[in-house]
């Protein structure tokens, strides 16, 4: 139904990939080509209301480049169909060390969290809390791979009181992953387990007062609760990565303000995390 999309993609392919990389060639003004989900706050949306949209604008300004988007649902195949297909040069959020892209230095580190109504006063922090055997727990189901806290609950035999919310949800609705946090506010589930940035943002907007509590890293499980997040560029695009790294460093204070504006639960980076890995 939207041949224009193909056309735009084709035109963008013809643009100098550089743009950012410095050579403001005769072709005209530099462009920062970003691939992003058009319907996934707090990260991004087509109205450019997400923190990744805001960050793209900040990075674009620092590079004196105009930001252009290719919109694509951030599902399996996202990187393959966008970044690797040459439709854009940067994705504004991927786990540091992500296998499908070359990743910049992390610009934040967050954690999986418990979300519950403050009036329940659960004070939850750990996955071995015995109350999790009976509380009604909501969590995102991602496909055959699932978030680390979900796998740890399954290992402890906690499955019958777990309600799955598809991370994809119904894409006709705004920000489908938010349904999980709304379910906590409504009391459909007692506690949600969710990735920090989306939990923090939607908890703040919820009609009930919600607590957002980081999940402690369990001692007995190698599955991480915390991840660092970077910008992702195409593998081999070291020139762009280096430029983005230096921009991220320069923007450090503004980025921290931005993330706090969106209520992203932030953790201090471990000392070596700038080098690699989650």
């Amino acid at each position: 139904m939207k041949p224009a999309g193909h056309l735009i993609a084709a035109i963008m392919l013809c643009m100098p990939a550089l743009a950012v990389a410095g050579a403001p060639a005769a072709a005209g003004e530099p462009v920062l080509r970003v691939c992003a989900d058009p319907n996934n706050l707090p990260f991004s949306n087509a109205k450019e209301e997400g923190f990744e949209n805001r960050l793209a604008r900040m990075v674009g300004n620092a590079l004196h480049a105009r930001v252009e988007y290719t919109w694509w649902a951030q599902r399996r195949g996202f990187v393959r169909n966008t970044l690797k297909a040459g439709l854009c040069d940067v994705v504004m959020g991927v786990p540091s060390g992500y296998g499908l892209a070359l990743t910049t230095r992390p610009y934040y580190r967050s954690t999986f969290v418990f979300v519950y109504r403050k009036d329940r006063a659960y004070d939850l922090h750990a996955l071995d809390d015995p109350r999790l055997a009976t509380l009604k727990i909501g969590l995102h189901v991602l496909g055959n791979d699932n978030p680390p806290p979900a796998l740890i609950l399954a290992r402890r035999g906690i499955t019958d009181n777990v309600i799955g919310y598809s991370i994809y949800g119904d894409y006709r609705d705004a920000n489908p992953p938010a349904r999980l946090i709304e379910a906590v506010a409504r009391g459909d589930v007692d506690v949600a387990i969710a990735w920090g940035p989306l939990a923090g943002y939607f908890a703040r907007q919820a009609p009930a007062e919600l607590a957002v509590a980081p999940i402690d890293q369990p001692d007995d499980a190698p599955l991480p609760m915390q991840f660092s997040v970077s910008l992702g560029v195409r593998k081999g695009d070291h020139a762009l990565k280096d430029r983005l790294d230096s921009v991220l460093q320069k923007l450090r204070p503004e980025i921290d303000v931005l993330l706090r504006d969106y209520a992203v639960p932030l953790l201090n980076a471990p000392p070596d995390m700038a080098a690699s890995g989650p």
Binding site: M1, R80, K84, T159, P177
Partner: protein, 599 residues
Amino acid sequence: MSPIVRRAGTLLLACTIVQGAAHAAQDIGSAMNDDSQWIMPAKDYASTRFSRLDQVNAGNVKQLQVAWTFSTGLVHGHEAAPLVVGNTMYIVTPYPNYLYAIDLKGEGGPLKWTYKPHPERASQGVACCDVVNRGAAYADGKIIFNTLDDHTVAVDAETGKEVWKTKLGEINLGETMTMAPLVVKDKVLVGNSGGEMGVRGWITALDVKTGKQAWRAYSTGPDADVLIGPDFKPFYQKDRGKDLGVSTWPPGQWKMGGGSVWGWISYDPASNLIYYGSANPGPWNPAQRPGDNKWTSTIFARDPDTGAAKWAVQYNPHDLHDYDGVNENVLVDLDLGGTPRKVLLHPDRNGYLYMMDRITGQIISAPPFAYSTSIKSIDLKTGLPALNEDKTPRQGELVKDICPAAPGGKDWQPSAWSPRTRLLYLPHNHLCMDVTASEVGYIAGTPFVGMEVKMNDAPGGYGGVFSAWDPVAGKEAWSIREHYPVWSGALVTAGDVVFYGTMDRWFKAVDAKTGKELWRFRTGSGIIGQPITYKGPDGKQYVAVLSGVGGWSGAVVAGGLDKKVPYGALGFVNAVKDLPDDTAAGGMLYVFALPDAKP
């Protein structure tokens, strides 16, 4: 409209005659027995892919040459079978699901018309495994097929005008449609894809005249939704009980339990039963879904008029390895130790070839046809696979050499049966996988630690096999090793020639009795389509196949995956990492014939 009168399983009233056709299209029953035509991907309701044509035979096939070609202009995987109805050939393409009609009377196959359904562009983003389509079906003067964005469309076979178009699913919920419909009497039978996306699988019957939904049977949930009623008589104890589609899951999980219906449907007019399989459970990790997870990875026998289930066998309870049950069911009548039996042959993803009594659902035999380490045997008393616990994926541990790998001993690629040789011709895989949990993934802004799946060739250093299977003896008659998984369909003819294609661009003819290679031709791109044969208006036998690599196995080419990343395309990239050296993408139809006799 005239009421449809049915006798002995065939339609007596031809509703539409294709004008100007030398051999007019008739009703389904007689058209599928007219070997000059090919009106459904599996050739006939029994899914034999056998043609009685014998102009091309084991003696002369070496002279086969290209008669004409046709480019689809598309670079995704081409899995469909062309159809021939009257003097027209029809090709349905991968997304954007064009339907081309080609005039077989004209020189070199001139294009008559193209029908474009304009599926939603966003459907590309939600399809799990490339954007394939497995073909169309002809019935009632219409060409009927599914679009990636969940519509079934019926197009006037003569004019190319849309007759009806019905929306069956919702891409915004992760559903897609890729399978080929089967038309039985006045019902068009179709199913959905997308188990990995959290959909709930179903098969649906539509009225062939109007496209209106007649019934829908889900693969999970309460008996009322699965259309399990008083007629349901499963052979095995494990498949008996009330609302097993609910009780074999943790509470509520069946609502997004997978079990999509994206493979093949067969039909036995004598017993008035359709047979099809459901896919793997999803999207939950196995540890999160204790229980059998019914009715995923299951074969159903149903009444096509009402959808009512007659029996079912769950092949792989609580599937751990992505062993869908969607592969073809080939309906044959065999003499087993002096007793004539109506059986179906089902080469399952799990690597075992089930021979079942198609009336009762009893498993008569189930020997392995592919290299297997994950399952030790199939217990004929209980119908259960005996799992090898050492090959169970465990979080945080590397489990090596799980065979067959996720695409199975055999995936969707359909086999062929010759009543002359009484052999089943099996295109299949020879793959194992190593599974561990450490790859960091990221979906909808959420990081996770995924199952890292790395596929490798099974022992012997080859990735695919084309074999001939003797179901009575329960063993292979002969086999041919191929470098890559054999991802094309098979075709066998009364000329005792078997045709199949390879991902490294060979289209081959082999002797149906011995497997000796008789002829081969190098096509432009790798072959994952389904070969067919027909008799042209000039009275000559033609053989046609689409080339155009892609699909899950070929995603490394069609999707431009990085071959240095072994875990691309859910792990398939490692097993086919040389593929970009052997083929590029690009859809092209090849039609072959013998040269005209010299005067």
